[in-house]
Symmetry: none
DNA sequence: AAAGGGGGTTAATGAAAAGTTAAAATGCAG
DNA sequence: CTGCATTTTAACTTTTCATTAACCCCCTTT
């Protein structure tokens, strides 16, 4: 999978503050382009691709609201955040009218900004890849560690075979969600046919046997679709 | 095209404040369920379908963070907002860690809340589509998810067979509109003859049985023309 | 009101998908 | 090469599903 840093357009006339923000975001796996006013911001937007825009509202030449409206004319989906200096409600409402997604009140708390950015990018599907998928899972009373392939219940340890572990891991990563049969086969067996399908059935039976001692955990089949590992809390 | 009201789960222990908020949102085309603590909120979440959750952080029995974590275990996509009484940064960060999308500082400005809700629903509302067909439907008290083939009523889950799901999906996409018999057959059975027609009748009987517990939902036959799934609001 | 077809409903049937268990094949460490 | 763990294939069982059949009522037309 391609590991691309999300690109952020930051338009902020206070140069030194903008630089601080840019540095902070750059340290956190974002690629930031910092523009000093609305006109430059617009040119940057037209000539590049961004996953998110952060616009100061109060700016010389062209304010953030106008810029947002212009951006929205061309692009209905890119997330837009506003920076507002004060708790000026009309600014916020105008911002939302212009198609913004959120606003941040100055002085900006960079931590919170980071979280807001990550939250919205999760929605648009541009979230920074946490490269490594989770490895440890709690399944009712069971505990599963994918790396060591260890499934533990009340101190009783069971080492799974590589295929067993892969399958359980895939189900864990999609806990309480449907995983299509074909997807499992493609992802673990690399081939979809009658025999790989039967093989998978065998492994599902094995996992079910391992997991039978806690009835809050169950692997449910949706006929002709796939499987769903349900973990009741 | 039928425009269904977004359903919001509001969990707030201050009853009178919660009621005000609920009334305000209800006036703005949202359907709100107000629960008074984390435990009730969790039960409501498990037994119904919501498009958005608004959780107070400070609550008796189970606080908003815990509730959010629990919700996220079952549902990775529903947007979650927090209500925080104070500018307590750790609350916010914990909220984001728990998988929240945004927070609102009390005292709540209802205007801003409305805009935040609309902004996030703009992001998610376009999401549940496959091809260009919507995938989730609210039928009176019932909720139907075409992808997982799940028909839910007050937490009672019923998995439909593939054909049942296809048929219900077609009716849902044409809610309160006539669908001609021939069109259904051509679109699902790929062939129009006596036997496919009878088969369809069987499936209509099955759907009617599933849907019999809410009399606002009914599948009506128009003699010699077709069917109409009526959903009274 | 009678006749005839359209439609509602339930149960029976057979085929396909999935569950289960054991045996055979594979592969690897010593 | 031997022995063991792992994976696949095979054989048998159970479950789920779509279709067909059977019997009913109701609507429409005459």
């Amino acid at each position: 999978m391609q590991e691309r840093k999300p690109r952020i357009l930051l338009v902020e006339d206070d140069i030194s503050f903008g630089k601080i923000l840019k540095d902070y975001l750059s340290l956190n796996a974002f690629e930031v382009m910092h523009m000093k006013d609305g006109v430059d911001g617009w040119n940057a937007f037209r000539n590049h691709h961004f996953d998110l825009c952060v616009l100061d509202i109060m700016m010389p030449k062209r304010d953030g609201i106008e810029l947002a409206e212009q951006i929205r004319k061309e692009n209905k989906t890119v997330p837009i955040f506003f920076l507002t200096s004060k708790t000026q409600k009309t600014d916020m409402l105008n911002g939302y009218e212009a198609g913004a997604d959120d606003y941040i009140i100055k002085p900006v708390d960079a931590d919170i900004l980071m979280h807001k950015i990550k939250a919205i990018l999760k929605r648009t599907g541009e979230a920074p890849r946490e490269g490594n998928q989770p490895v440890e899972f709690q399944l009712g009373e069971y505990h599963f560690n994918f790396t060591s392939r260890m499934l533990t219940l009340n101190g009783e340890k069971q080492v799974l075979s590589p295929k067993e572990a892969e399958l359980l891991h895939l189900l864990c990563c999609n806990m309480n969600q449907l995983v299509k049969r074909e997807d499992i086969l493609r992802s673990i067996w690399k081939e979809v046919n009658y025999f790989t399908g039967r093989s998978m059935d065998v492994y599902l039976a094995k996992l079910r046997k391992y997991l039978q001692h806690d009835e809050r955990v169950s692997i449910i089949n949706l006929h002709k679709s796939g499987y769903l590992m349900e973990v009741k809390t």
